[in-house]
């Protein structure tokens, strides 16, 4: 009988079905006599099947349409600022300004009681926000909720003052 160590070494090939007939026979013979290895392999087989059920969320076609233009801007070394969860000072002033415009526009949309946003398709909302500032990359608006962007990037007091002074930016 082959050793438990050998079983370990052959496991990946066994799971992927690439063991030779002879090795497969020896492998399964071991499993029929060693309950520890049998249990180990059974849970690994299940794990492999389970992880293959993982589905990937697909990006929308609009995202792909903007991929190359964005890359070209980066190549021309006029990169668009990268949006990440960091505080305002880390952002360039221009970005901050652009974001403020987005955020203000978004907040005014989201918080104006007369507008019922629940019935508004998200694409429409994003397009509206984008239309208010051509500098902003589509991806930024597409991937994060405007409120998330605002809360992650802007200090509370700035947010408050923006909400209070946003009339002129209303879309």
């Amino acid at each position: 009988m082959i050793s438990c160590r050998k079983v370990k070494r052959w496991t990946v090939d066994y799971l992927e079905g690439t063991l030779s007939e002879k090795k497969k026979f020896l492998f399964e013979e071991h499993l029929s006599k060693c309950s520890r290895c049998a249990q180990e392999i059974e849970t690994l087989v299940k794990t492999q099947k389970l992880v293959r059920l993982k589905v990937r969320e697909e990006m929308p076609e609009t995202f792909w349409a903007h991929y190359l233009p964005r890359l070209k801007r980066r190549l021309e070394e006029k990169p668009l600022p990268r949006l990440a969860w960091r505080p305002v000072p880390a952002l360039a002033l221009a970005t901050a300004t652009a974001l403020v415009l987005l955020v203000v526009a978004a907040i005014s949309l989201l918080r104006t009681p007369s507008l019922n946003l629940e019935n508004l398709p998200r694409e429409v909302l994003v397009e509206e926000v984008m239309a208010s500032n051509s500098e902003l990359d589509y991806f930024i608006a597409e991937s994060f909720e405007p409120e998330e962007i605002a809360q992650a990037l802007l200090p509370r007091e700035i947010l408050n003052s923006l909400v209070n002074n946003n009339q002129e930016f209303t879309l």
Binding site: K8, K49, K54, M59, L71
Partner: protein, 185 residues
């Protein structure tokens, strides 16, 4: 066919033809983006790092000698950029790889189709894979999410096939330990 097409595009790019670069990007952007996304589990990082990979291709195309296929080279560049990123991130944040994910009972075994729509299960799978050490996560992703062969993975990572298999085995064991609630009993 695919290989020849890439060789032609690479040659055109080497002669300075920007349009050839556009064609290569459009051909591979989805695969490269999703590879970076699988490795980073973050859309902003995936966009940033995948574009960094294409920029590197553009700037160092003259160094590509065609000893491997173009896509192997492109994958290697992408994986290296992502691995560097993951290692930097791992240094900042210590993650416990053996922490077990508590799960509600899901009968995915007898009904795999339901598992595809089970949000909690999908989130737990993502968390489990994301918690793997960078090298194991990379090998696991290339094999099971990208469907590359052991040989291709070895070539991309510049390691032996034995090392690819060892990483796959360790990754699977870690995933099993984290996802015990789904695979035991």
């Amino acid at each position: 066919m695919v290989k020849n097409e890439d060789t032609l595009l690479v040659n055109r790019l080497k002669k300075g033809e920007r349009k050839a670069f556009d064609e290569l990007v459009n051909k591979y952007k989805k695969r490269i983006y999703y590879l970076a996304y699988s490795l980073t589990n973050n859309h902003a990082d995936a966009l940033d790092l995948s574009q960094e990979a294409f920029i590197k291709v553009y700037k160092s195309i003259h160094r590509f000698r065609g000893r491997s296929s173009f896509y192997t080279w492109l994958y290697r560049i992408t994986v290296n950029i992502c691995l560097n990123h993951l290692k930097k991130k791992a240094k900042r944040k210590e993650i416990s790889f053996d922490e077990r994910i508590e799960v509600a009972q899901v009968d995915w075994w007898s009904n795999p189709k339901k598992a595809l729509e089970n949000k909690e299960l999908q989130e737990n799978l993502t968390r489990a894979i994301d918690s793997l050490p960078p090298q194991q996560k990379t090998v696991f992703t290339l094999r099971h999410l990208e469907g590359l062969s052991h040989k291709e993975i070895a070539s991309i990572l510049g390691c032996s096939i034995g090392s690819v298999k060892a990483n796959l085995f360790q990754a699977l064991q870690k995933l099993r330990n984290r996802l015990k609630g789904y695979v035991e009993g």
